[in-house]
Amino acid sequence: MTLQGKIALVTGATRGIGKAIALSLGEQGATVIGTATSEGGANTISEFLQAAGITGKGVVLNVTDAEAIESVVSAIEAEFGAPDILVNNAGITRDNLLMRMKDEEWDDIVNTNLTPIYRLSKRCLRAMTKARWGRIISITSVVGVMGNAGQTNYAAAKAGVIGFSKSLAREVGARGITVNAVAPGFIDTDMTSGLPEAHKTALLEQVPAKRLGEPEEIAAAVTFLASPAAGYITGETLNVNGGMYMS
């Protein structure tokens, strides 16, 4: 139990990678607050945390709403204490070829996958600098380092997360705060289950591991970066992709 006494905030924790991260951090003793976009999602999080014997709960947060970020983090501080670990996981896709891409598709991605990372990190940093300890871990994507046809918007936002993390790592390194990214490859979640079968087969051709990754395999990387043992790793992007991309 390496995270005993720590408070972790995980965005987009209802299912998939976020859920696996919430459970994994909780198993290491952290109190976990998971966010969902709906009341039903928040209840789901509370239920699976409770079933696993983890302290914490699900809360409703639309990460694109700046005021909601402020009020939700304040409520967490009042009830549990300030988050020591922030995991920026919430994300969406709006795939399209650039020549067909609508402004809304571009804006939705930047507003959901990039801007909230700025807002949440900024909001949580004050307490972390005071505590002289903190972990900010953002989920980026193999697409952010490799590129992918049909995902200019998603790749731009995910590459943005990497640049953001490197810069913030430089700003707050002396305060015992590490800022890292984890870049999953193709993971078996709702986000990838929608891909056409032919597309999936073609993708797996490029993956030396010849299989999709499991959400738990991403959660393991995040939990490692959150641990005290990873205190000297900062500004790094950990690729967890079955060998699909090697930096």
Partner: protein, 78 residues
């Protein structure tokens, strides 16, 4: 020395990890006391908490010494 000045000096000593005798009224946080830009942000945060006030960024930038900090706090508290 006013109570406010004494408290400001205390906070500077604590935040910047310097000796109390180095913290003169005119000592510059950055040039004389070795603060970096993040230290000054944290210092302003600590002043805000201690004196229960909000210091806007454009004012915070002008606070570079104990004297300036005390003057600002006096101006908002009076």
């Amino acid at each position: 020395m006013s109570d406010i000045e004494a408290r400001v000096r205390e906070i500077v000593v604590e935040q910047l990890g310097v000796n109390a005798d180095e913290v003169t009224a005119d000592a510059s946080f950055i040039d004389d006391l070795g603060a970096d830009s993040l230290d000054t942000v944290e210092l302003v945060m600590a002043l805000e908490e201690a004196f229960e006030c909000e210091i806007p960024d454009e004012e915070a930038e002008k606070i570079t010494t104990v004297k300036e900090a005390v003057a600002y706090i006096n101006s908002v508290q009076s």
